[in-house]
């Protein structure tokens, strides 16, 4: 199971080589900058969904939380004239609060995660639109807009920093801290974990809080990239948030995650999106390709489980 992401790595590298050799424009610093910026945002969204899949649940309200935090972040700077730092902290706190609401409703009242997050999806979206009247907040702090377009070295964008930090923190929590181990244990077998003294409720709430924080962070990165607090941020995250973890080999039943696999899947999806642009194909094909990849990934997984022990698919 160690090298389960090897196939994805090969696909990603191959895709990169094919694009670079067929379209020289692909390797221009500007294009790489755009590619990496897209990756930075998509990776945060994917990790936000991965963490709820880890505990054996899902979060439909991910994009809705991202949008609410995005407009609140921009609104605090525009309307209240806060500077970037306190707005950022408040944005993370709002994301955590929204996630906690999901987690507590699910864990405390033992409700279906699907229905709860479908309901909060509508509630957060309603709040977002009620706050903004569907108009963007334009006047955001200069630091944020500079950050959104800045590059560290050459084509490496500054917006990659939050993604790298968030990935490191998520990996540390999941693989090193008891809280993370408990999330995976509950996702793997909740009754066994309860018998071993793990609080299922706490694990579920922790996972949803982390998902909310990641969604909020992604929303704020989106604000930095767009240079404004657009109320529609997050509307199109649903499919891609599931696509990357599923392609990356995260078990839908919970208990098993692959951070490297998820990130590689994000790279592959970003490459495909870029490829459609570079080959001037209708960008709407992305929807088709994403859906097809999800089906392919789950199809391969169930094929794998049908094979006799010892055999493996590429």
């Amino acid at each position: 199971m160690r090298q389960e992401w090897l196939g994805l790595a090969v696909i990603a590298v191959l895709g990169f080589i094919i694009m670079a050799s067929l379209r020289p424009a692909f390797l221009t610093p500007f294009n790489l900058f755009v590619l990496l910026s897209t990756f930075a945002l998509a990776a945060l969204i994917a990790l936000g969904q991965m963490i709820t899949l880890a505990v054996g649940q899902l979060n439909l309200s991910l994009g809705s939380i991202g949008g609410l935090v995005a407009v609140s972040f921009a609104g605090m700077m525009d309307v209240w004239h806060w500077s970037a730092a306190p707005s950022f902290v408040a944005g993370l706190a709002l994301g955590a609060l929204a996630g906690a609401l999901n987690g507590i409703l699910i864990a405390q009242f033992q409700l279906s995660a699907f229905i709860v997050t479908l309901a909060t999806l509508a509630m957060f979206k309603g709040l977002n639109l009620a706050l903004t009247k569907a108009q963007p907040f334009y006047d955001i702090d200069k630091i944020v807009s500079t950050f959104g377009n800045a590059s560290l070295i050459g084509p490496i964008p500054a917006v990659l920093i939050p993604t790298v930090i968030a990935t490191a923190v998520v990996a540390y929590i999941l693989y090193r801290l008891p809280a993370g181990r408990q999330i995976l244990a509950v996702g793997g077998n909740s009754s066994a974990s309860e018998l071993s003294g793990i609080s299922i409720k706490r694990a579920i709430v922790t996972a949803h809080v982390m998902s909310g924080v990641l969604a909020g962070l992604a929303g704020m990165v989106a604000v930095a990239r767009l240079q404004l607090g657009q109320p529609t941020i997050g509307e199109d995250w649903l499919i891609s948030s599931f696509a990357a973890p599923v392609i990356g080999g995260v078990a839908l039943t919970g208990g098993h995650v692959s951070i490297v696999g998820t990130l590689l899947a994000v790279v592959i999806v970003a490459l495909i999106t870029q490829g459609l642009v570079l080959f001037t194909i209708d960008p709407f094909y992305v929807q088709l390709v994403l859906g097809g990849l999800i089906l392919l990934a789950v199809g391969l997984n169930s094929l794998r489980s049908l094979l006799p022990v010892g055999y493996s698919l590429p």
Partner: protein, 331 residues
């Protein structure tokens, strides 16, 4: 989940839920007639019944899949894609209205069949399959239609949207209620319906008793696709055109009403229990609340917030009720 003792109590529980919903509908009617200007005007009642027709169908489309313990996220995508298909048959091929509608229903059914087929043969939960197919179907529809609306429709088709009975009733609601009655009969009195519910209640037990659970799962997905296609056509009749974005991106805007009706109506998400009458009543209540709040100019955004809260409240109440019943039973 609630097999065993609770299934014996089923008719009572269904009747009490239906009574509760009817009282809420009546109460909301009184409150809105008093608080929202123009709520009880014939035109508004007509608009209300027209929207209710759509919401009833969405609720039923989701309910039949939930009955087997699954769900269908792709109803919006299927509904819109089928409506666009009918639109093209009428606009580009000048086919007769009825042929186009029947073809669209078959198209929706075929898409639903594909969903069910993949669910059964890839052994993946319907959530992830229909999430993927929602993206595929909607994406393909946008690519093929170039995101353009179909407006050049036969007058006979457009005239359907103007029929009014008694000045306040849309015949579309009668169509939806009739479909609901057929589904209720199917679920309660036919082998097919009993097999569907048995598959949802306990698929292992159903398999051991000779039910082909896989076939039943495919059946409900196909049925859900047909119902979504009817909903898509109704929405086009109302709009006087087939607009690719009429249910939002990926058809997501249909998801909330589609889940509200069965959940408020007491259908168990784990499968095995589906109440048609209460689902229809719940869809009507949701439409009434939406319409009334919009007329009180609370703002569309708060309405969305309120509908989300209603869904949460419904699952919380259902939880509370079953916990309470459980305790009483234990005593």
């Amino acid at each position: 989940m609630a097999v065993g003792p609770s299934s014996r109590r089923q008719p009572n529980e269904e009747a009490s839920t239906a009574l509760g919903l009817t009282l809420l509908i009546a109460l909301a009617f009184v409150v809105f007639s008093w608080a929202a200007a123009g709520f009880s005007s014939p035109y508004n009642l007509y608009a209300l019944t027209r929207t209710a027709a759509l919401n009833v169908l969405l609720g039923l489309a989701m309910m039949v899949v939930i009955a087997t313990g699954g769900l269908d996220l792709s109803i919006g995508a299927i509904g819109i894609a089928s409506a666009m298909f009918a639109g093209y048959l009428m606009q580009d091929f000048r086919l007769h209205m009825m042929i186009a509608i029947v073809a669209a229903l078959c198209f929706g059914g075929a898409l639903g069949f594909c969903n069910g087929f993949v669910v059964v043969f890839a052994r993946v939960h319907s959530f992830i399959v229909t999430l993927a197919s929602m993206s595929i179907i909607f994406g393909a529809m946008i690519v093929l239609t170039k995101a353009e609306s179909v407006r050049d429709l036969p007058p006979a088709f457009l005239a359907l949207g103007k029929i009014r009975w008694f000045g306040y009733l849309s015949p579309m609601l009668m169509v939806s209620v009739a479909i609901g009655a057929l589904i209720a009969i199917m679920l309660r009195w036919t082998d097919l319906g009993r097999e569907i519910l048995a598959s949802g209640a306990n698929s292992r037990a159903a398999t051991l008793s000779g039910v082909r659970v896989g076939n039943r799962i495919i059946t409900v997905h196909a049925l859900s696709g047909i119902l979504a296609a009817i909903a898509g056509i109704m929405l086009s009749i109302r709009n006087g055109a087939m607009v690719p974005s009429m249910a939002g991106n990926l058809g997501q805007e249909w998801l909330l009403p589609a889940f509200l009706a069965p959940v408020l109506g007491g259908t168990l998400l784990s499968g095995g229990r589906a109440w048609v009458v209460t689902t229809v009543l719940a869809a009507f209540l949701v439409t009434e609340l939406t319409n009334g709040m919009l007329l009180m100019s609370i703002g569309e955004f708060w309405v969305q917030f309120a509908l989300g809260s209603v869904l949460l409240l419904a699952v919380l109440l259902e939880k509370g009720r079953s916990t309470l019943m459980g305790t009483v039973e234990g005593v």
